[in-house]
């Protein structure tokens, strides 16, 4: 019985910890599907976390915080889009600088928020379902964003696979020239994709500070942005796979706490290394597996310039 309880609480915590990863991974999937690589995930996410925390702290309404986090992410993504889509600048450099910028600006502007308490997202116990023993606590007693995240997955899948827009997004990421010649505006689709992605990543950050950690600290994201970049590869750019990756890594994240709490004598600091090592291994596994199959968008990371002849 004790074990079932432990597992139930572990699943619950995995879902909670996995939700920001899920939002960020989905956001980056949309971005990368359009052929734009946004390496700035870490910076966008932490900006979303700080701005979200700030707005919730000021207004007392966590939802305003979540939205504000999303829009902060969107704003940074707009910088990325302007540089990479409009100016056709190197996507890796711009992304890396977004990381530096995000970490810097949140450390700078967020210093007053350290140690403060903002109103955070309250868990919602789904009627009846949450009454189910174990499963109720594990799956049906979360804050609303957890459920929203789960809902977005099929919606995004539908959008990407069953609508014209989804097909255009795919084509722009695969062969922008081909898309261009049938009258699809490559730049516009990429711009929208980057902004949408940024919005979701911003929300991911806000969830981190307003529902998962419930505090603001410097460097709160602690590399989660990078893990999500790996998760995108792991998921093969498919939303339906992203959710497994996100929850898996959410679980890994909480496992170190849980093991420590269980008093197994494993050092907390030692356990902190595990998700990163695991990420590299998963990445390696994905890359080796994807080698023979259709993987990354073919035009990922390449700016599209029409008049290339001269």
């Amino acid at each position: 019985m004790l074990e079932s309880e432990f597992i139930a609480s572990l699943i619950a915590a995995s879902m909670r910890a996995g939700t920001p990863l899920l939002f960020a991974t989905l956001g980056e999937i949309i971005t990368e599907r359009s052929g734009v690589l946004n390496l700035g995930l870490e910076g966008v996410m932490i900006t979303g976390a700080m701005v979200g925390f700030y707005f919730s702290y000021v207004t007392g309404n966590p939802w305003i915080g979540i939205l504000a986090g999303g829009f902060a992410g969107l704003l940074l993504a707009m910088v990325h889009a302007f540089f990479t889509v409009t100016l056709k600048v190197d996507q890796a450099v711009t992304g890396l600088m977004l990381v530096l910028f995000g970490l810097g600006i949140t450390g700078f502007l967020g210093r007053g928020l350290v140690g403060e308490v903002a109103s955070y997202l309250q868990p919602v116990k789904l009627p009846l379902l949450s009454e189910i023993p174990y499963i109720g606590t594990a799956v049906f007693s979360h804050d609303p964003l957890v459920y929203i995240g789960i809902l977005i997955v099929p919606l995004l899948w539908f959008f990407m696979n069953k609508t014209r827009y989804g097909m255009e997004l795919y084509a722009v990421g695969e062969n922008p020239e081909a898309a261009d010649t049938v009258g699809i505006s490559v730049d516009r689709i990429r711009f929208i994709a980057v902004l949408t992605g940024g919005f979701l990543v911003g929300i991911a950050g806000a969830h981190l500070s307003l529902a998962y950690a419930k505090v603001w600290t410097d460097g709160l994201t602690a590399g989660r942005g990078w893990i999500c970049l790996a998760l995108v590869i792991f998921s093969g750019w498919m939303p339906q796979r992203a959710i497994f990756g996100a929850y898996l890594f959410g679980g890994l994240d909480v496992l170190s706490f849980k093991l420590q709490a269980a008093g197994l004598g494993v050092s907390y600091h030692f356990m902190r290394m595990v998700p990163y090592i695991f990420t590299i291994l998963v990445l390696l596994f994905s890359v080796i597996r994807e080698r023979e199959k259709f993987g990354a968008p073919s035009a990922l990371g390449k700016p599209y310039i029409r008049e290339q002849k001269y």
Binding site: N175, S185, E307
Partner: protein, 546 residues
């Protein structure tokens, strides 16, 4: 309402077309007519579907189009003929909304138009099949055809409706494709049909085809021409871009010739001939007759024995190739691109591992030797993809000239810059590479000069063996002539040359022996004395050799 027949016997199959266009508003001449039954033609003047007036387009350093006028009649197959670099593709890209003209105007279907993107062109009824197909490889043919198109119920995709529509197009025009197959698994000919279907699906009135036969076997080309004639019979207008005289004469009704960005004449096909066209295209009488002296072929320099190799996708691309190239001879490899030529080139220079079989160079087994080892043994290569493989465009001309031998320009690991400079000065002079400085980045060179640079580098190494892969592709006539003469004189010096080219005429003209490659196999080897073009054409398309 009377239906006029124009251009001799064409247009007899009008009734089907009338059904097809029922109720569609069409614009003619300067009048808009909503016809009862759809289609009508009224006199000579209303025949013009497209007029491009005074089109000028300047790229930095190049005038690609210089006040070009073009007039295309409804329902004709109009050829646009010109050398590489004459401005054909630029003109068509302007028509298709990919480039903006600096000057000039376009009147299409009776209205003045400004096409600022392909979308505008498509909406007005212009379709284009590009030289490099614009298909998303990982998507099915159906999705490629549908891409960007608003089916009923948009933004949802109505596949049933789309299939129905494609079926009716296939019925009318007889152009077929496997709709559920991914493009990546298709043959080039099939890809082209998907491209054409993509345009027809959008109810185009004018279809542009940019060098459509450059990737096709003679038989596939014939099939395409039949389809084009059928389209024209049904009232579709076709603009056919080519640099091949014979094709233009075979398939078109009228031909406009471009030279150095200018329109130098529009001719009625029936009243012209190859000679006149050639003179217009090049601007002078040309004598393309180059003779290679018969040199007594010596011993085998390069020998491939039953070589197997895989392509990038892991499929077997070379299936038991055996051939030998001898001193003093040019061995031509004829075949349509994508039949293993690229892999053959890479296997010989050492970029691609050999799965099975042996490669011998002057008797020495080099199957597993590194690129560097082979280079040192005296293997030179003019690669198929000059800019992507043969060159580092951002590096200087000097640096590119020592790309393959940089270690012999160093002492104790340190580069000898004086030597490198002297070397470059010498080669630039000797091979006539036009550049203001040897320290300029290679990307500032024109296509012809890039080829000269690569030839200079590969020949100055004094090789024993040279692979020349598509060595004249994209060059103008003077450039082509230069390259061919170089290859011949090299062979006459006693070097062994393997010439890979998709230009069958070129192969026949300068090779001593011709090997035909199809799907990774050598289907036949001919001596120059008993070349049978028809048989080569047949073998190139996989026909059996009896």
């Amino acid at each position: 309402m009377s239906l006029l027949l124009w251009q001799g016997g064409k247009g007899c199959n009008f009734y089907k077309l009338v059904e097809h266009y029922q109720g569609i508003e069409i614009n003619m001449g300067n009048r808009k007519t909503k016809t009862e039954r759809g289609w009508a033609l009224q006199g000579e003047n209303s025949d013009i579907i497209l007029e491009m007036k005074n089109i000028t387009k300047v790229f930095p350093g190049v005038v690609a189009n210089d006040r070009v006028n073009l007039e295309v009649r409804r329902g004709e197959i109009h050829g646009l003929l010109g050398e590489n670099g004459a401005g054909k593709t630029t003109l068509m890209s302007i028509l298709y909304g990919l480039y903006r003209p600096d000057e000039g105007e376009i009147i299409f279907d009776g209205e003045k138009r400004v096409f600022s993107s392909p979308k505008d062109a498509i909406e007005s009824g212009i379709g284009m099949v590009h030289q490099h197909f614009m298909l998303v490889n990982k998507m099915s043919a159906l999705n490629n055809i549908l891409l960007g198109y608003k089916t009923p119920g948009d933004p949802l995709l109505d596949y049933e409706w789309a299939r129905e529509k494609i079926r009716s197009i296939i019925e009318v025009y007889g152009i077929d494709a496997e709709l559920d197959e991914r493009v990546i698994n298709m043959s080039v000919g099939e890809e082209q049909r998907v491209e054409i279907l993509k345009s027809l699906f959008r109810d185009v009135k004018l279809l542009i085809l940019d060098e459509p036969t450059s990737v096709l076997t003679p038989i596939e080309s014939e099939r395409l021409f039949q389809a084009l004639k059928r389209m024209s019979e049904k009232g579709l207008t076709v603009l056919f871009i080519t640099h091949k005289l014979r094709e233009a004469l075979e398939v078109t009704d009228r031909i406009t010739v471009l030279r150095k960005g200018r329109n130098v004449g529009t001719l009625i096909t029936k009243r012209t001939d190859e000679k006149e066209l050639a003179r217009l295209m090049v601007g002078r009488e040309i004598d393309m007759k180059i003779e290679k002296k018969r040199v007594e072929a010596g011993k085998d320099v390069l020998k491939l024995e039953n070589v197997y190799a895989r392509n990038d996708r892991g499929l077997m691309a070379l299936k038991g190739i055996s051939l030998s190239v001898r001193e003093g001879e040019i061995l031509g490899i004829a075949g349509v691109s994508g039949n293993g030529q690229k892999e053959l080139e890479e296997v010989i220079i050492g970029l691609r591992p050999v799965e099975k079989g042996k490669i011998l160079f002057n008797g020495e087994d080099i199957t597993f030797s590194s690129v560097r080892k082979r280079t040192r043994l005296g293997i030179s290569c003019i690669p198929e993809n000059r800019i992507e493989t043969g060159l580092a465009p951002s590096l200087t001309i000097e640096e590119n000239l020592i790309l393959r031998d940089y270690e012999s320009f160093s002492r104790n690991g340190f580069m000898e810059f004086d030597m490198i400079e002297a070397h470059a000065e010498k080669l630039v002079e000797e091979y006539g590479i036009k550049t203001p400085s040897t320290k300029a980045p290679a990307r500032t060179l024109s296509g012809g000069n890039i080829q000269r640079l690569i030839i200079a580098r590969e020949l100055s190494r004094n090789p024993l063996f040279l692979i020349a892969s598509q060595p004249t592709r994209g060059l103008d006539i003077a450039g082509i002539d230069y390259v061919r003469r170089k290859l011949i004189s090299l062979a006459e010096e006693g070097k062994a040359i393997l010439l890979i080219s998709e230009d069958l005429e070129e192969i026949v003209q300068i090779s001593d022996r011709i090997a035909v490659i199809f799907e990774g196999e050598i289907r036949g080897i001919f001596d120059r004395e008993n070349v049978d073009i028809d048989r080569i054409g047949l073998l190139m398309s996989g026909g059996a050799d009896n």
